[in-house]
């Protein structure tokens, strides 16, 4: 286990350094395979965190200091594989909220209403991770904003 941790730390340092270099030279040079891999890893790390939050993992919720549910329910219990989230249809008029809404608005509605959890900041790490997982699990869906 210790070896795995050291490996993860080393990989994190490598990704971090690649990203710092990337930020400094953004769009000035051709992308290297290592850079693209680093971008992908940043994204997939957020997908994994979002996946854990979405499936009610207590440890991840505690780490991010969020309480997404107080009923025992997790997002995935109504949305297996991220189904019926329809991220490709936002923004739109959302009937339950009664106003024009973004995906983040709807995530917070679900946290507060069906899950009876505590609403999270719309720019928080937890929200970004949930958004990453929902978009990733629905990749390939046809973009159709405004569709009810």
């Amino acid at each position: 286990m210790k070896t795995i941790r050291i490996g993860l730390i080393a990989a994190g340092v490598l990704v971090g350094s690649l990203l710092i270099v990337s930020s400094a030279r953004a769009h000035k040079d051709k992308h290297t395979p290592q850079q693209l891999k680093a971008f992908e890893e940043v994204f997939m790390e957020q997908v994994r965190i979002g996946d854990l939050l979405f499936h009610g993992d207590d440890a991840t919720a505690k780490k991010l200091n969020v309480q997404l549910s107080r009923t025992g329910m997790a997002c995935a219990m109504c949305h297996p594989f991220g189904s019926d989230n329809h991220p490709h249809e936002f923004p739109k008029f959302q009937e339950q909220i009664g106003q024009f809404a973004t995906l983040r608005d709807m995530i917070n509605w679900c946290i507060e209403k069906p899950n009876e959890g505590v609403k999270i900041d719309s720019d928080s790490p937890a929200m970004k991770a949930l958004e990453a997982y929902i978009y990733w699990s629905n990749r390939g869906s046809k973009l159709d904003p405004g569709r009810h």
Binding site: V47, R48, D51, L52, H55, G56, D57, D58, A59, T71, G72, M73, A74, A76, M77, C78, H79, P80, F81, G82, S83, D84, H86, H88, E89, Q96, C110, K113, P114, E116, W136, S137, N138, R139, G140, S141, K142, D144, R147, H148
Partner: protein
């Protein structure tokens, strides 16, 4: 035609001979005629406009001694009860269903509970469910769901409800209860999971660790074959199971993995109906001479799977997630004086079936493409219930 469609088409040809349909004694009513129209007229492609807006499916069941016999029975399942201190919303809905079944007039002859009484197999949850169901004074029979089973591998459930598979004859019908949950692969021993960790994976519908746990099993197939062998081939058989006895959507175990073998056992019988839970949604299918009807949950509705929804299913409405009593319920099954059974979905809302695509649990998802999750494959993660 993709691989799944091709395989289903071949199976349909094999299992359903020319001119054969489920139930040799079926009386074709307007409703079943419409289903037949779909089968024969459009190569299995359903069109919403062909179905009437009704909450029942009619089919002839049986005659005892040559005379029509009337009786009712009820189905309740998928209550997913938590301990009361976690939440009471599922308790409230289970209590409502139980009270309504008890109040049926004329009374039901029996209640079948179709599994997933508990959410996490906790003895507190199973005891709570048992207490709630005691309000039903008629005969009760039980089959297990995976949520009832995988904390202690069925010990508490069997101590409360007995054997997980059984059979009895009632007024000209042979009823069979199948256990489709207890023969899952061992995914816990090698990883040294605790019982709660094992249950956590099993309780995650879209998890990938528990694998294809739904199955009938060779031993139970033999038992089923033997159980039916003494029954006339044209007499009605009703099989209760937690999972559907056909392949709908394996990633969520909306199937039994050995469904082909099940159909081989049932092949000689011309009037077999499978009534199942687990899917938490309106479903109807015919394969070979077997018809299948999916039941509602009292807890919450599952979305329709991204593929595999039977073409014969008229989808239920989109549920309002802000209303805990929406999209859920139970079933009343009535055999009337004309020897027809009506399956009535009791959904606690005005409309059960959707007409327009915008209101449909299926039609709403035309632009949706889904992908399986990945995070539960990583070592040390065991779900939300550690």
């Amino acid at each position: 035609m993709d691989e799944i469609q091709r395989e289903r088409s071949e199976l349909q040809k094999t299992l359903q001979g020319k001119g054969e349909r489920p139930g040799g004694s079926l009386q074709i009513t307007r409703r079943t005629f419409l289903h037949k129209s779909v089968l024969t007229g459009a190569a299995g492609v359903a069109t919403y406009g062909w179905f009437p807006l009704i909450g029942t499916l009619d089919f002839l069941v049986g005659q005892a001694g040559g005379q029509p016999t009337a009786f009712k029975f009820a189905w309740i399942s998928d209550n997913h009860l938590y301990p009361k201190e976690v939440n009471t919303r599922f308790v409230d809905k289970a209590v409502r269903a139980v009270k309504e079944v008890q109040a049926m007039k004329p009374a039901a002859d029996f209640l079948i509970h179709g599994g997933d009484l508990a959410q996490l197999g906790d003895p507190v949850e199973l005891d709570l469910g048992n207490e709630i169901l005691k309000e039903v004074k008629i005969r009760k029979v039980f089959i297990p769901g995976e949520h009832d089973w995988y904390l202690d591998l069925g010990q508490k459930w069997t101590s409360l409800f007995g054997q997980p598979n059984w059979t009895f004859d009632h007024k000209g019908v042979r009823f069979v209860g199948l256990d489709t949950v207890s023969r899952g692969p061992d995914y816990w021993t090698a990883k040294k999971m605790s019982p709660k960790e094992r249950m956590g994976h099993m309780a995650t519908l879209d998890g990938s660790v528990a694998g294809s746990w739904a199955g009938v099993g060779r031993d139970q197939l033999q038992w089923l074959n033997q159980t039916l062998s003494s029954w006339p081939k044209d007499k009605p058989i009703v099989i209760f199971s937690h999972n559907p006895l056909y392949e709908y959507y394996p990633p969520w175990n909306f199937w039994v993995r050995d469904w082909r073998e099940v159909h081989e056992v049932l092949r000689p019988y011309s009037n077999v109906t499978n009534i199942h839970g687990h899917t938490h949604q309106v479903l109807y299918n015919e394969i070979g001479k077997l018809r299948s009807i999916g039941m509602l949950a009292t807890s919450w509705p599952w979305p329709y799977a991204p593929e595999g929804v039977p073409a014969l299913t008229k989808c239920m409405v989109r549920a309002d997630p802000g209303d805990f009593f929406d999209g859920v319920g139970y079933s009343r099954l009535t055999m009337n004086a004309a020897s027809k059974i009506e399956n009535e979905y009791v959904m606690w809302r005005k409309d059960t079936f959707a007409e327009a695509a915008v209101d449909s649990g299926c039609g709403d998802n035309v632009n949706q493409v889904l992908h399986p999750r990945i995070a539960d494959q990583e070592w040390t993660y065991y779900g939300a219930y550690k």
